[in-house]
Each structure stands twice: as C-alpha cells, then as structure tokens.
C-alpha cells in the first residue's frame, strides 16, 4: 500500500507529458474539438527546412506571424531542428493530416519532398512554395513560388561589382554542389562578363572558419588581379573579412578590393556601415513569410492564386541604408 502514491504520481507524470499541449495558446490555437466544420478563422501552416539556430528563418516566421495578426488568421510555423528531409516530409504529413486551410513549404530537395507535397495537393490544400524551390515548384503542380531567383541575384551582384570597377571576382562558395548556391556564382560570372570581367569559384568549408579564412587569403595571394570577393552567406563573409584585414595589415594587399555577400547578419551589417564591405544581397526573408500568408489567405477566400515566381529579392543593403537596417534587425523583421 505504501507504494500507491508514487505509482499514481508516475502515471500523472505520464499524463502530464502531453502538457506541451498547453502551449497551444502561444500559437493562438483555438479549441478544434469539432473540426469537421470548417473553422471560422482559417489556419495556415508554414513548413520550412530552416535550422533552429539560423536567424534567417526567425525573420521568415515573424513575417508570417505578423501577416496572420493583421489578417486575423492563425499561423503556425514548423521546421525540423536540423537540415533533415526525412523529418521535414514527416512534418508535412502530420500537418496535412491536421487539415490546415493553407500550406507554405520551402523545397530545398524536390526529389525528397515530392511525395509529401503531392499528397498535400491531393488533399485539396492550397500550397505556395517559399524561399527554395524556384526550379521545381511547377513540376510539383504548384503555381506560385515566393523567393529570390538565385541566378538573377548573382547577376545583379556581378553588375553592381562591375560598376564599382571590379574586373575579376572570387565567388566564395561554402556548398559546392548545392544548385542554389552554384547558380549564384554563375550569375556573378555572367554579370561581370557583360562588362568584360571574370569570376572564379573558391570552395570553402564553413565547418572550419579558420580554414575558410586561410583559403580566402591563399586565393587572394595566389591569383593575381582579384579586385572583388563575393561570399554566398554571412557565415562565409566573416572569414573573408578577416582574411582581407590580415592581408592588409601584413602589407600583402594594397589595391582596392570590393567585398560583398549574400544575406544579412549583424557582423555583415556592421562591416557595411564601417565601409569594410560594400554591399549585401538581401532576399528579404520577412516578405517570404508575410507574402505567403497573404497569398494563401486570398487563395482560401476567393480561390485566386498568382502564377509564377514572386521575387522578394535581390534588394541591396549598402552604406546608405545599413544603419536603418541594423535598427530593423533589432526588431526581428530584417
């Protein structure tokens, strides 16, 4: 008999393990006991491949939530903790089973996610793709994609560099083989070639920033005539900045060098404000979340869906607007 209270406690503990359900209020969930009747406030779910440590995806989620707040609809954001297509497709499966009124999905791997997305479409849920998937969304039967066309963005960056006088640029690619990143480098090369310039790709591994820094330094010392460096993400920009600073300090670099990057981070914005970097290509992640909710809302309400790629970028952050953008990063919207 003495064992009864603890035994009961463990059972209670077990029951309490479902307690994250109490967090439903955080995401504005309403009681959906009777779900056969269509809920009065539509529910839109975003499923992305964003890693939990990546501030980029917080901005996407904020954009979606704020759109939901303005429109008075429920928005939920789901993503696997790490880059994991198996987990992501399971997430989509669970979300589809819960019958949301609209679905926004990023598609970094069309092969892996195709069955889950097709099943969602077959369930009659309006879907838009966001961020990744510009190449595959049509094949999967979707009509609208919201994001930045990577090749065009690279091209625009190349042009901007050429205007600043760059003739030979280094494209620092941290994921050679990733189609989206490869096409940024191709775009850069085309943009420079238009003005008679050229580009070459340098592969780096960001798992080891020290090594990435050495590689950039080595390439700048080895290749003559490089007067521009474009990194494909903020995580690559920091080692590149350090490499250039070291070269300048040691007298190994006395010619002008244009440094630029894709996407924003605090160190990148500070460098732009201080003049160490000339610009950042901004795909405006806030808009990717915000527009997805707005479009899906209309798709639910009146069945109208745009056709094609809705471009949220490339926009550019330069010395002129860096201070303003830094302020907005503090609010989590840039």
């Amino acid at each position: 008999m003495t064992l009864r209270p603890p035994a009961l406690l463990w059972l209670l503990g077990l029951a309490a393990c479902g307690s994250p359900g109490e967090q439903r209020d955080d995401v504005g969930a309403k009681d959906r006991g009777d779900t056969t009747a269509r809920a009065e406030t539509p529910r839109i779910v975003l499923v992305t491949h964003g890693q939990s440590a990546d501030p980029f995806w917080s901005v996407v989620a904020t954009g979606a939530r704020e759109a939901g707040g303005e429109l008075g609809i429920r928005v939920e954001y789901q993503a696997p903790g790490t880059f994991n297509m198996v987990e992501m497709s399971q997430l989509i499966e669970a979300v589809v089973a819960s019958r949301p009124e609209g679905l926004a999905i990023s598609i970094p791997d069309g092969d892996a996610l195709a069955p889950a997305i097709r099943a969602a479409a077959a369930a009659g849920i309006p879907i838009v793709s966001i961020n990744s998937g510009a190449r595959v969304f049509r094949d999967l039967g979707l009509s609208a994609h919201i994001g930045q066309p990577e090749r065009d963005a690279g091209f625009a960056a190349g042009r901007r560099m050429a205007e600043a006088g760059v003739t030979r640029a280094l494209c620092v690619n941290h994921e050679v083989g990733n189609l989206a990143l490869d096409s940024r480098c191709e775009g850069l090369e085309d943009g420079l070639r238009e003005a008679g310039g050229s580009a070459l790709v340098l592969a780096v591994d960001l798992a080891d920033p020290e090594d990435a820094q050495q590689r950039v330094r080595g390439a700048l010392a080895r290749e003559p005539g490089i007067d521009g460096v474009l990194t494909l993400g903020p995580a690559g920009a920091v080692p590149a900045l350090a490499a250039v600073a070291m070269l300048r300090a040691s007298g190994g670099l006395d010619t002008p060098l244009e440094l630029a990057t894709f996407d924003l981070s605090m160190p990148v914005l500070e460098a732009i404000r201080e003049g160490a970097m000339s610009f950042a290509v901004d795909q405006q992640p806030y808009l990717q979340g915000y527009l997805a909710v707005v479009l899906l809302h209309k798709a639910i309400q009146i069945g109208a869906v745009p056709d094609g790629v809705i471009r949220t970028g490339p926009a550019f952050v330069t010395g002129d607007n860096a201070a303003e953008v830094i302020r907005l990063v503090g609010r989590g919207v840039r």
Binding site: L3, A7, G18, G110
Partner: protein, 338 residues
C-alpha cells in the same frame, strides 16, 4: 490504478505487471487518448493514423534490433551513422558508378554487415565497453560517409535514384503504400517485431541472448557461445540500420550524408521506454516497438495539435524519464510481493 495493490496479489495480475512493456503500453494509450481529445477527428482519421505510424516505422525497425542487442548486454551508438552510410552507398553505387539497383542494395547490406561485424569483434576481443567502441564507430562511419561522398561526387546530397535499373521492384518492396496512405515500412516494422519476439521467447537463440546479457559468465559455463551471440546481435543492428537507410533512399529518391543523425539515441530511448534494462538480461522487442510508437505519436501529435515541433524533444525526454521511473517502481512492487 485504484485496485492495483490488491490486484497485484493475484498471480496473473503480477505476471502482467512484471511485463517489461507495461509502461510503454500504458504510455502509448494515454498519449493516444490525449491527442484524440486535443486534435479530434483529424488525428483519428486514416491520414492522421498513417502520419504517426509512418513516422514511427523506421525507428521501430531500428529499435527492435537494438532491443535484442541491449538485452544481450551491449550498446550500439553507430546505427545512426550506418543509416547515413547505407543511403549514400546506394546512391553512389547507382548514380555515380552506374550499377543496377539490386546489386547496389546487396553490396550496401554487405558493407553494413561488415561494420556490424567489426563492432562486435572489437567489443568481444578487446573487452572494451561497447559504448566506447560504437561511439568511435559513429564518428568514423559518419566522417567516412561525408569524405567519400564529397571525394567521389563533390556532393553531400544525391538524388535521382528513380533512374536506376530495378527501381520499380525495389520501390515495391521498400517504399510502396499497399494500403495508402500507410507505407510498407509499417509492415517491415510489425514483421520484425513479431520475428524478434518469436526468436527471443521461443528459440534457443533467444535464451542465449538473455543469458549473454544477464549472466555472461554463467552462460559461458553452460556452453552458450556468448561472443558469437554478441557479434550476431551487432550485425543485426547494422542490418536494421542498413534497411532503414535503404527504405529512406528509395522512398525519398535520394540520400544525404546527414541521414540518420541522432537515430542511435532515439533508438535507445525507444528501447528503454519499452522496458529493456540498460544492464542487459531483461527486456522485450514488443516494448521497443511500443517505444517507437510513442515516438511517432508524440512527434506527429504535437504538430497536429498546432504546437511547434520544437516541443517534441521536451516531451520525449520527459516521457523517457517517467517511463523508467514507472518501470522501476513496478519492478520493486512485484519483487516485494514475491
């Protein structure tokens, strides 16, 4: 639970309480009721049921093999990276070297079997804890997978398996949905659970597994080939991991080098929730399968009730500790009554 102490006096109730999988069965039932109340009809629907069974199946396949190994007194932390190696091996052999799919699958299973054999032979020959040996193997196999994939193809993510010869038949066996939307992996999961349970409880090999884990010296003196049993169990977990890697490569039409990350810990979690003791000699394959079911219920249920998936790890971690505490209490109760 009102009547539990009284009921525990009857031998039949005591036998029921002494089952290792009691906590997992109760936990799965409680969770199922909880999500039914919270999410309602969508959770009970075919699509909802398939969502958690499909998610539980790969882990279930893994956990059943790991439960046999753990009953046999050993750990295997390398299974997650074997999943990754298996998927990339299939992809490289087919898309990079142009092999037909079936020989590639056979070679992949062979490769994984030899990793399992290596785990086993190192553990029994050196006497090092399997925790350490397979932890080393975790890093070695994952690192080799990334290095070889990058070295050969320049990529860490490969797609387009559907272009290889034999894809259709492999798809039928590993990734079809004979009863949509339920995947065939659910059948693999249930089939392996039944086979493992039969082997544990009805064969001489099953007795050897319990003996090797519980009282290895005594078992040895009774003529049980403990080393051979353990090596076999390590090969079993490696093959299960290989099967999961193959299922996922075929189902998702490709693989990446990070597949299976953390699965070794999810598998141990499922096995322990299922009532298998860490020190070996006691446990059940059905419990491990129920542990995997709990994993699927929590992972997918949380998403279905609209809670962020971030809470999944919190819930599963809490469940793990609760289940072990519950098991300990019940075991003490049963032993006292004896």
């Amino acid at each position: 639970m009102e009547t539990e102490p009284a009921a525990a006096r009857s031998p039949r109730a005591r036998r029921l309480l002494a089952r290792p999988e009691l906590a997992a069965a109760l936990g799965a039932a409680v969770l199922w009721i909880f999500f039914t109340i919270q999410a309602g009809e969508p959770f009970l629907s075919r699509a909802g049921t398939a969502a958690y069974l499909n998610a539980a199946a790969p882990l279930g396949i893994l956990a059943v093999a790991v439960s046999l190994l753990m009953i046999g007194g050993e750990f295997d932390l390398s299974v997650g990276s074997i999943i990754g190696a298996s998927g990339m091996s299939v992809m490289l052999l087919t898309t990079h070297f142009g092999w037909p799919l079936w020989p590639a699958l056979a070679a992949t299973v062979g490769l994984c079997l030899s990793i399992g054999y290596l785990n086993g032979i190192i553990v029994v020959r050196t006497g090092l804890p399997s925790f350490i040996v397979t932890l080393g193997m975790l890093f070695t196999v994952r690192g080799l997978t990334i290095a070889i994939s990058r070295g050969l193809s320049g990529r860490t993510q490969l797609g387009g398996l559907d272009g290889s010869t034999g894809y259709e038949s492999a798809r039928f066996l590993f990734a079809s949905s004979p009863l949509p939307p339920f995947r065939i992996s659910v059948i693999w999961w249930i089939g392996l659970t039944v086979a493992a349970t039969w082997a544990l409880n009805r064969t001489r090999y099953g007795n050897w597994i319990f003996g090797s884990g519980g009282q290895a010296e005594t078992a040895r003196n009774l003529g049980v080939p403990v080393n051979r049993v353990k090596i076999g169990l390590f090969m079993g977990t490696a093959v299960a991991a290989s099967l999961v890697g193959i299922i996922q490569a075929v189902q998702f039409n490709g693989a990446d080098t990070l597949r299976g990350t953390l699965q070794e810990f999810w598998a141990i979690t499922a096995v322990v929730i299922g009532g298998t003791l860490l020190k070996g000699g006691y446990g059940s394959a059905v419990g491990a399968a129920l542990g995997a079911l709990i994993f699927g219920l929590v992972r997918q249920g949380i998403v279905m009730i609209g809670v962020n998936a971030d809470w999944f790890q919190v819930a599963l971690g809490t469940l793990l500790i609760a289940a072990v505490l519950f098991n300990n209490q019940v075991r003490r109760l049963v032993e006292q009554r004896r």
